[in-house]
Symmetry: C2
Subunit: 430 residues, 2 copies
C-alpha cells in the first residue's frame, strides 16, 4: 500500500498541515508506536487486533466450514462489526453469493429469505455475546424459514461466538460447527478473524492471502510516519481534524471496495467518536459520486478530508469502437474502461487540489494480499488517531443508553431510559 | 408525510433552534414560497421540477416500454441524477431485478453483465446530453455484450435523452423507443419523470401512485413552515446549519429507502454545496448503523443533524417462540421484527435527544404514494434551503473543472486543467 499525502500539505490545501508540523508530530507517533507494540506484545484488549494476521488459524476455519463448502450462497446473520468485516472481505475478493441480514426491517428479512435458494445456502451466525437482539431474532426467523422450506438448518449453519451464551449453547445442543470470536478484539477490529473470514472461506476465497497481506501491514508499522503508510495516513487525519477537517470522505475508485467504505465508517465512528472528537466518516464511491458529492467537496466548506482510494491495476475491458460524433476519443478502439476511470481519478484529485480542498491518495493492490494490507493499515491508523486524541479507542459506551431503552420498550426489564421515550418533545407538522 | 421537529428545538438540542427563531424565519419562508410558486407557474429552470407530478405522462411511459415489459430485469445505464432517482423509486416500490451501471469500474461492469440474463433484460440508457462519457462507454460495452450473447440489443433498449445528441441520433437510426428528459429540470430533480420512472414501469411498478403522492406533496406547500412538512424540514435544516449542524445524517429505518439516502445526498450536495455553504449529507441506515455510527452521533461533535426516517407501518413477521434464556422477551410468540425495529427507532431518537444531539423525525407511508410524496417534499425542502442561502440551487459548476481535466487526459481535446494533473504535489510513504 502506498499513501500520498502531498495534497494535504498546507502549501496545497486549506486546512492543510505543514511538513514541519508533521515532523514535530512524528515524535508523538514514535511514542504511540511503542505503546502499540507493547499492547500487541501483551495481547492487550484492542491492541490484540493487530496480532490477528498471525493468530488467526485459517486451517481451523477451513475445517469447520468444510461441510458447507458445497453451498453457492452464504447468509451472514450479524450486525455491526459482526457483519461489516465479512461483507467487506468477500466483496473485495470478488466473491459473489454473500447475502447478509444485518437489520431487523421485516420487509428486508422476508425479501432476503425469499430470494435465497435456502437448500444451497450456508448460514453464518455471528454474535460475540450470543444475545444480540437483532441477530438472534433474525436467526430464529431464518431457522423457521429453512424448516418450512424442508431444509435441515442444523446441517447448514456455522456459528461464531464467545465461550458462553445462548448461541454457544445452541451450537452444542444441535451439534453445529462453532468457531470462537477472537479474544480481546472489538468486533469492528475483527475482520481478519473467524468473524470476517468464514463467508469468504465457504465461497472459496483466498483467506490465507488476506492474512499474508495483514502481516505485511503489521510489519510496515515503524517509529516514523514517514516510514509507515498506516501512520502517515492516521497522522494526517489527526492533524487535519484538529485544523478543521472534521469530516473524512472515503471514496474508493473500485466498486469492490464499496463495503470497505462502510467498514471504515464503523471503524472510525465507533473508535474515535468520543469526548466531542472524531471525524465524521462519509462513504463515497468514485467515479459515481463525481456526479453527486464532488460539487460539495470542491465548493462547500473546507471541513473535509477526501480519502481517494486508487487501484494499482485494472482488468482490461476495451471500449468498443464507435464512429458516433463526439465520442471518437473514447471509442477509438484503444481506450479501455480502466483508462477512463483512471483519468477520472486523476482529474478529481487535481480538481480538489485546485480548489484547495485537502485530499490523500491510498493506492491498493486489488488482490487478497492487498485487501488484508488495507484493512490492517486502516486499523493501525485508527489506533494511532485514538492514542493521539487520548480517547478510549476500543469501547463504544454511548450506544448502551439506546440498547437499554429498546430492551425496556420491548418488555425485557425495567430501564429508566425507556421512560424517556414517552417524554419526547414534539412539534409536528403534517 | 409527517415531520416532527421537536428534537431540533433549542430547549432539547445543541445546536437547536428556538420556536421564536422559527417564527421569525417563517416570514422569509413565506416570501420563498411565493418565489417558488412563481417559478412553477412560469416553468422556470429548476422550479419546473415541482411540476413533474402534473406534467409527467405515465401513459406515454407505459406505451414506450410496452415491448419490454416481458423482461424480468432492467439495466439502467446512467450516472448521477440519471441513475439515482430510478434506483430509488424501484427499490422503494419493492421491485426486484433493477441493476445499474453507474460507474466505469471495468471489474464491476463485467460483473454486472456476467450476472444478468441478457435475453431477459431491458436496457434503459439515460443521458440528457447524450454525451456523458461514463454512460456512453458503458452503453457501447453493453451493446457488444448483448450481441455476443446472441441478443438483438435494438429490441431490448429504451433511451431517455434530450432532443439532440448522439443518443437521440442512435435511437432514430436504430428505431429504439425514445423518451424525452423533462425540460428545465436538472437530473437530480428528475426522479418523477421519464428519467426515474421507466425501470419501475418496465417491472410493473405503480408509477401512477408515485405521481399521485408527488402531487400531494406539491399541494401541501404553504405560506408557513408550520403548515408544510417540506418547508418545516427545510427550515430546520437551514437554521441548524447556520447554528453549527454542518452535517445532515439521513437514517431511514427502512432498507427499501437505502437508495433514497443516496438520492438525498446528491440532491443536497449538488444543490447546496456552494459558496462555502451546504450541509454534508451522510447516508446511514437504521437499525444497522446503531452498531456503527451511533457512538459518534451521540458522543462526537455537536455538528450533526440526524434525520430519522420512520415507516408508518410494517409487514407482520413474527419472531418465532424460543425458550432460550435471555431471549424470552423477544421470542415470546407475540413480538414481531417490526416491534423490534420500532422500539430501536424510538430508543435511538430518545438517546440522541438525551445527549442533546439535534434530530428530526420524518414519518412516511411505505406505499407508492408515500414514496412520491417523500421525494417531492425533499426537493421542495432543498429549494427552500437554497433560496434561504441565496445560492444557485439548480446548477453544479464545480464539477466542470474535473470533466475538462479528464477529457484532456483521454485525448479528447486541449484543456489546461489536464496539465495541472501532472503538477501534483507528492509526498509518498510506502
Amino acid at each position: 500500500m502506498q499513501v500520498d499525502i502531498g495534497n494535504a500539505l498546507s502549501d496545497v490545501a486549506r486546512p492543510g498541515v505543514s511538513e514541519g508540523a508533521l515532523e514535530r508530530l512524528d515524535e508523538r507517533v514514535a511514542r504511540v508506536h511503542e505503546r502499540i507494540e507493547r499492547g500487541m506484545a501483551d495481547d492487550e484488549f484492542g491492541y490484540a487486533a493487530l496480532n490477528l494476521p498471525e493468530t488467526t488459524d485459517a486451517t481451523e476455519i477451513r475445517e469447520a466450514v468444510e461441510p458447507l463448502t458445497d453451498a453457492d450462497h452464504v447468509l451472514t446473520v450479524g450486525i455491526g462489526g459482526s457483519a461489516l468485516g465479512a461483507v467487506t472481505v468477500s466483496r473485495a475478493l470478488g466473491l459473489d453469493g454473500h447475502a447478509v441480514l444485518d437489520n431487523v426491517d421485516p420487509a428486508e428479512t422476508r425479501r432476503v429469505l425469499d430470494a435465497l435458494p435456502l437448500a444451497d445456502t450456508a448460514v453464518h451466525v455471528v454474535s460475540k455475546s450470543g444475545t444480540t437482539a437483532e441477530t438472534l431474532a433474525n436467526f430464529l426467523v431464518v431457522r423457521e424459514a429453512m424448516t418450512e422450506a424442508g431444509v435441515d438448518w442444523t446441517e447448514r449453519t456455522v456459528v461464531t461466538t464467545g465461550a458462553d451464551g445462548p448461541l454457544r449453547a445452541a451450537a452444542e445442543t444441535e451439534g453445529l460447527p462453532a468457531l470462537d470470536v477472537p479474544e480481546g478484539v472489538p468486533g469492528r477490529f475483527a475482520a481478519l478473524s473467524t468473524v470476517g473470514l468464514v463467508p469468504a472461506a465457504i465461497l472459496g476465497g483466498d483467506v490465507e492471502g488476506v492474512l499474508v497481506g495483514g502481516r505485511a501491514a503489521r510489519e510496515s508499522l515503524a517509529l516514523s510516519l514517514f516510514d509507515s503508510p498506516a501512520y502517515a495516513y492516521g497522522a494526517v487525519c489527526y492533524a487535519l481534524e484538529n485544523r478543521g477537517a472534521t469530516t473524512n470522505a472515503v471514496m474508493p475508485y473500485l466498486e469492490s471496495l464499496e463495503p470497505f467504505a462502510e467498514w471504515f465508517a464503523q471503524l472510525w465512528a465507533e473508535s474515535l467518536g468520543k469526548d466531542g472528537l472524531g471525524q465524521t466518516p462519509v462513504r463515497a464511491l468514485g467515479a459515481t459520486d463525481q456526479h453527486s458529492q464532488l460539487q460539495l467537496y470542491r465548493a462547500g466548506r473546507h471541513d473535509k478530508l477526501v480519502t481517494l482510494v486508487q487501484s494499482s491495476e485494472r482488468p482490461d475491458v476495451p471500449i468498443p469502437e464507435t464512429d458516433v460524433a463526439g465520442l471518437a476519443y473514447l471509442g477509438d478502439g484503444e481506450t479501455t474502461l480502466g483508462d477512463l476511470v483512471d483519468a477520472e481519478f486523476a482529474a478529481t484529485e487535481a480538481s480538489l487540489a485546485a480548489a484547495g480542498q485537502p485530499n490523500v491518495r491510498l493506492t491498493v493492490d486489488p488482490t487478497p494480499e492487498g485487501v488484508g494490507e488495507l484493512l490492517v493499515a486502516m486499523e493501525a491508523a485508527c489506533i494511532l488517531v485514538g492514542e493521539l486524541h487520548g480517547v478510549e479507542t476500543f469501547t463504544q459506551p454511548a450506544v448502551e443508553w439506546g440498547k437499554r431503552a429498546a430492551r425496556g420498550l420491548l418488555g425485557g426489564g425495567e430501564f429508566e431510559e425507556a421512560d424517556a421515550v414517552a417524554e419526547k418533545r414534539r412539534l409536528v407538522v403534517e
